[in-house]
Symmetry: C2
Subunit: 369 residues, 2 copies
C-alpha cells in the first residue's frame, strides 16, 4: 500500500474550501485566529523587506529568535531551555515531522488520544509509524490516564494541551503522571503546546516542567495570530540537537526568513493579553449559547474550539454538518475528522470569529432545528 492511501484528508481544509463558496456563510470551521498579529510584528515585516531579508537563514533559524523563545519559557514557565535546543520550523507542522523522526523508527508505535488533531495519525502514516489510539471522554475531562497506557505498548506518546478539538487542559498532576510513566517506560513524550497562551481557566504547564527530554512543539500560528507566516518551533532533548539539525537541513533548508524577522517582535505580551481576553469572551458567549442547543460536556478551558455532542438531532454528525452548511450556511467541522471514538456524534465549533458573527450563526441554527 502507498503511504498516502493510509492517510485521510484533513477534512477541515476541505470544508473551509466548500464554505468559501457561500458569501454569507458563518464560519465555525476555521482553526485560525481572525485577529491581526501585533502592530510591532507588522512593522517588523515591513522593516525586513526594506532590509532585503530574502536569503536563507541557518537551518535552526535566527539565533536571536531562539534566544527570545528561550526567554519566553523562562518568564512563562520558569524553565531554563538553552537556545541551542530550540529549532525553528516551517509551521508547527514541520516540527511534527522532526519529532516523529527523532522519536520513532519505521514501524514504531505512536500513542495518541481519540479524539485528537487529525494530522497526528497522518504524519505517522506518512512516516510508516503505527498510530495507537487511546479513547478519552468526558469522564476524565478528555485527559488520558497513565493506566490506559498499560494496555498497549508504544514507543512515543503524543498529547496536546490545550487540546484540539475539545479545548481541555491537562492538570499539572495529570501531565506530571503521564510524563513520569513515559520516563519510567522509555516512552518518548511529544507535547503539542500550540494553543498555549489561549488559556482561560486554570494554567497550562509545559511538559518540560516534568520531563527535560520531552519534545515540545509550539508556534506562531494561534496565540501570536500569524498562521500564514508558517513558523513553528520544537524543543528537542540536548542529545538530539545534532540529529534534529541534520533532519532540518535536508527537509526544510530553513524556515521562512521574513517570518523569522517579524517573529522577533511577536512576544508583545501586552498585545497578547488582549488577544486572550477577546477569545475568552468568545468562549464564554459560544459556550453559553451552544449549551442551550447541543450537549457540551466540558466547558473548554483553552484553544478556540468547542466540542458539541449533536446526537439528539442526528445519527451522523457529518451529514448534519453538510446539511447545516447547505441549508443555513453555517460551517462547522464534523467530529469524524478527529478520530473514531463516538466522533460521529460530535461537531467542532471554532470561536475564531467575532461575537456578532457567531450570534448570527447561533440564531440560524436555533431557527433551523
Amino acid at each position: 500500500m502507498m503511504r498516502y492511501e493510509a492517510m485521510t484528508s484533513f477534512m477541515v481544509m476541505d470544508i473551509v474550501r466548500e464554505a468559501s463558496r457561500y458569501p454569507n456563510a458563518v464560519h465555525f470551521e476555521i482553526g485560525q485566529p481572525d485577529l491581526q498579529p501585533s502592530p510591532n510584528v507588522c512593522e517588523a515585516f515591513y522593516q525586513a523587506i526594506a532590509s532585503h531579508r530574502f536569503s536563507y537563514t541557518e537551518s535552526f533559524g535566527l539565533y536571536e529568535l531562539r534566544e527570545k523563545i528561550s526567554h519566553h519559557y523562562l518568564c512563562t514557565y520558569n524553565v531554563k531551555i538553552a537556545p541551542e535546543r530550540i529549532l525553528l520550523t516551517p509551521g508547527s507542522s514541520g516540527a511534527f515531522l522532526i519529532a516523529y523522526a527523532l522519536a520513532l523508527k519505521s514501524n514504531g508505535k505512536l500513542g495518541l488520544t481519540d479524539p485528537s488533531y487529525p494530522c497526528y495519525k497522518n504524519f505517522a502514516h506518512f512516516l510508516n509509524i503505527q498510530p495507537i489510539a487511546f479513547n478519552v471522554d468526558k469522564s476524565e475531562a478528555y485527559q488520558l490516564h497513565p493506566d490506559q497506557l498499560r494496555t498497549q505498548e508504544i514507543d512515543a506518546l503524543q498529547i496536546s494541551s490545550p487540546a484540539n478539538p475539545t479545548g481541555n487542559i491537562y492538570t499539572s498532576e495529570r501531565l506530571q503522571s503521564l510524563n513520569q510513566y513515559c520516563i519510567e517506560h522509555g516512552i518518548s513524550f511529544i507535547s503539542d503546546e500550540l494553543y498555549h497562551g489561549l488559556v482561560y481557566d486554570g494554567l497550562a504547564n509545559t511538559a518540560l516542567e516534568f520531563n527535560d527530554n520531552a519534545y515540545v512543539i509550539n508556534g506562531f500560528s494561534k496565540y501570536f495570530c500569524m498562521p500564514g507566516a508558517r513558523l513553528g518551533w520544537i524543543i528537542v532533548p540536548e542529545y538530539q540537537i545534532r540529529s534534529a539539525e541534520v533532519i532540518a537541513q535536508n527537509l526544510f533548508i530553513c524556515p521562512p526568513t521574513l517570518s523569522q524577522y517579524a517573529a522577533l517582535f511577536a512576544f508583545d505580551y501586552e498585545y497578547l493579553a488582549n488577544v486572550r481576553v477577546e477569545f475568552a469572551k468568545r468562549r464564554d458567549f459560544l459556550y453559553q449559547e451552544l449549551s442551550n442547543i447541543f450537549e457540551v460536556e466540558n466547558k473548554p478551558q483553552g484553544a478556540f474550539y468547542l466540542w458539541a455532542n449533536v446526537s439528539k438531532y442526528c445519527d451522523d454528525s457529518q451529514k448534519f454538518a453538510h446539511k447545516m452548511l447547505q441549508e443555513i450556511q453555517v460551517a462547522s467541522a464534523p467530529g469524524i475528522d478527529f478520530g473514531n471514538n463516538q466522533t460521529d456524534k460530535y461537531l467542532r465549533f471554532a470561536y475564531t470569529r467575532n461575537i456578532e458573527e457567531m450570534a448570527d450563526g447561533v440564531l440560524r441554527i436555533k431557527r433551523w432545528l
Copy 2:
C-alpha cells in the same frame, strides 16, 4: 536503526555556518543568489502586509498563482498544464516530500545520479526509501544514460537539469530517451527543474514535454531570487491531484502566505533576463579562471555551480576545502557532500557573488597553491 542515522548532514549548510565566522571570507560555498527579487516582488510583499495577508491559504496555494505558473509553462515550454495539477509547497524541499510519497512505497527504490543534490538521498532515508546510485561522469557530460537503468531495478528516477553540483543540462534527446525508458518500465520520473531559467548554453527542457505523468519540481529560490520566501511548486499527474492534496493538507497546511502573494509578481521576464545575463557573466569569468588552476572537465551550462577536479593538489578534497577556508578564508563545498563517485577529488564552486569578490578569491587561491 533510526531513520536519521542513515541521513547525512547537508554539509554545505555546515560550511556556510563555519565560513560566517570569517568576516573576510570569499564565499564560493553558498547555493543561493545574492541578487534581489524583482522590485515588483518587493512591492507586492509590502502590499500583502498592508492588506493583512496573515491567514492560511488553501493547501494547494493561491489559485491565481497556480494559473500564473500554468501560463509560465505555456509560454516557456509550450506545454499546457492545468492549474489544478500545480501544487505550491513550502520551498521545493516540500515538493520532494510529496513527490517521493506519491511515487514510492516504504522500501521502494529511488534511482539517482552520483554526484547529485545531497538531500535527494536523505529525503529517501527519511521516508524509508532505498536510494540507488548511478554514476555519471565527464564521458557523458554528467548525463545518465538509459542503458545504465537496465543494471538495477528501481521504482522511481530522480534527475536534475541544470544539475547541482555539475551545472550540466540534459540534451532534449537524452531527457526524452530517459523518460521513454521510464514510461516503458513503469518507473516514475521525478524531474528537479529548480535551476531552469539559469541556462547559459543550449536549452533546458521540462520533462513534461516527454512524459505527462512526470513529477516536475521547481520553485522561486534560484532564478526568481527568493530563497528565504520558501516557496516551491510541484506538478503532479492528473490522477494524483487528490492524493497530493491530502499529503499537503496534513504535512504543511499551506505554503507561506506573504510569499505566495509576492510571487504573483515574480514572472517579471525583463528583470529575470538581467538575472540570467549577470550569472552568465559570472559563469564565464569563473570557468576561465578556475580552468587555469584546477581541472574543470565540463563547462557548466546552467545553474550557478562549477565542479572542479582538484586532485592534482590533494588526495582528499574535503581536507583541501577546510585548509583553504582556514588559511586563506576561501569557502567552497567538498565533493563528498554530493555522493561517493570519485567525489573526494572535487570541489563545488558556486558563482553566487559578484566578479570582484570572486576575483579576490581566485587570486587568494593562486597565491596559496
